[in-house]
Amino acid sequence: MESNDLLRWNAGDGGQIEIEADGPWTVTNAVALDSLVDAAAQAAGTGPMIVDMHGVTAIDTFGACLIERLVTPAKARGQKVVFKGVLDQHRSLLDAVARVSDHTPLPPKKRSPLAAIEGLGRSLIDLGNDLSALLVMLGAIAMAMARVIRRPRSFRLTAAVNQFDRVGLRSVPIILLITFLIGAIIAQQGIFNFRKFGAQTYAIDLVGILVLRELGVLIVSIMVAGRSGSSYTAELGSMKMREEIDAIRTMGLDPIEILMLPRVLALVLALPMLTFIGSMSALVGGGLVSWLYGGMSVATYITRLRDAISVTHFEVGMWKAPFMALVIGIVACTEGLRVQGNTESLGFHTTESVVKSIFLVIVLDGFFAMFFASIGM
């Protein structure tokens, strides 16, 4: 005989057990009841089980589930279970719970011992899929472009202009600021270090070549990937989530033409513009430091700059810009379309979009360096 004020039981000789439930069987007592019920179920023999519930003052779903857990093993073994003294207002809930209780939770998925190898294989396949998805998107955008060239009326000019405003014009202030600071930092480091062997005017060569050829376009691309690529992915992703893209498709329209093409084109136009503005701003930053910190006059800076750099350096930087834009736009659109129905995947693909486009921009810059070196530019 076990004694407490919620659940008492008395196992008889014939294997039968008499169980007496008492007091409030509600969520407030759930923790205590949880262990009591397990103990009582353990104590049950092989005979009939009698559950006396006349002392139960209140019951909620938590209590009803516990009662169900108490009797399920006995029922499963084919023993007789008799309820006594169930109040009318409790019976309907107990019945409702009993009706659905044969659903047991599924066991959690087992981790296979080869999971690590499986993961490696999967990520390799994913890499392949990534590349082909990017190529597919590039192809789809090229096709859409071709269609638009044939029928210029179908081009979404308003959308493209709107996107150009968002990704181009509105990023001008932040691009100006960042590239100005980068130019200033390069100049300061150049002057500081070249001064040791009296070659501080070479700092100007450094600023000019580095900014125009490499850093201007690279910094701007990275900024744009973070600022605009991520917002493309988030926008397209949440449209995908809310079936808006499916709605466009079912209307017989092409989401690539309506959503992606204007965005990618806006980026392809905006990035060269931002690169130009950014490079100029970096040169101004470099000039300011040369004057204030290096003690060179503005005239010296300009003359030296004119000697050091050629139009080629400028052209190399500018040529790269639209390709960088294409990479950023395609990655952003591809990742946006991969978003599944849940918010977590939206966050995941937005991050992926930024990480992948920055990575690809830098890799592409490496290829461009080799290419321009081999054609002698």
Partner: protein, 255 residues
Amino acid sequence: MSDEAPAIRLTDLVVGFGNNTVIDHLSLDVRRGEILGLVGASGGGKSVLLRTILGLLRKRSGTINILGANPDEVSSAAMRAVERHWGVLFQQGALFSSLTVRQNVEFPMREYLQLPPRLQSSVAITKLGMVGLSAVDAEKLPEELSGGMIKRAALARALALDPDIVFLDEPTSGLDPIAASDFDRLIKTLQKALGLTVFMVTHDLDSLATVCDRVAALADGKIVALGPMSAMLASEHPWVQAYFRGQRARNNSIV
């Protein structure tokens, strides 16, 4: 029943957006333990009324009293204690998309109660069973559910804490008639067993006729008719007449 303080008392409530007044000096009592059905034209402000009672929209004037607490007067801690005693089924489900169905139901339990995990998940599975979802469905993500399944899962979540009041925004829309009447029976069962108060926005004439103790008709921002089905049928208000004596009502042989 009626001598007790009402579960919800709305007095002179005004809610609007800009110069569009949606709820206009509305007063309504919801008694403890009753199932009140709210009907009204599409776009008539039923969801707005519901969201205002829940504190999701700001009212212009009037008072709200839920379970004896006035949100304007009591502290936010006291209000949270009241919120633990209500459950809400939103019109679009509003399931957490990154949690499985079972985790969605367990979420309020985990936040408010310290339960053994096994009991928590078995109660969650039971609630899901009660609304007609299987243990297999319980491990799915919301995106893998049909519209009707989302409704059911959201109802199970609204009922997770055995609330005193549940607010249901069109619970049976999107369910087939059999599932809808199962649902009605479930609401009735829970009401009897748990003394549940139900505030239900619905267009389902069957639900209104079979489970609702009283019906409130919202038109022009006010309650224009209130009472059992017979009172609706007897009402002189033109919109109420059109609603309850129209073709659809006749087909449902309510008249």
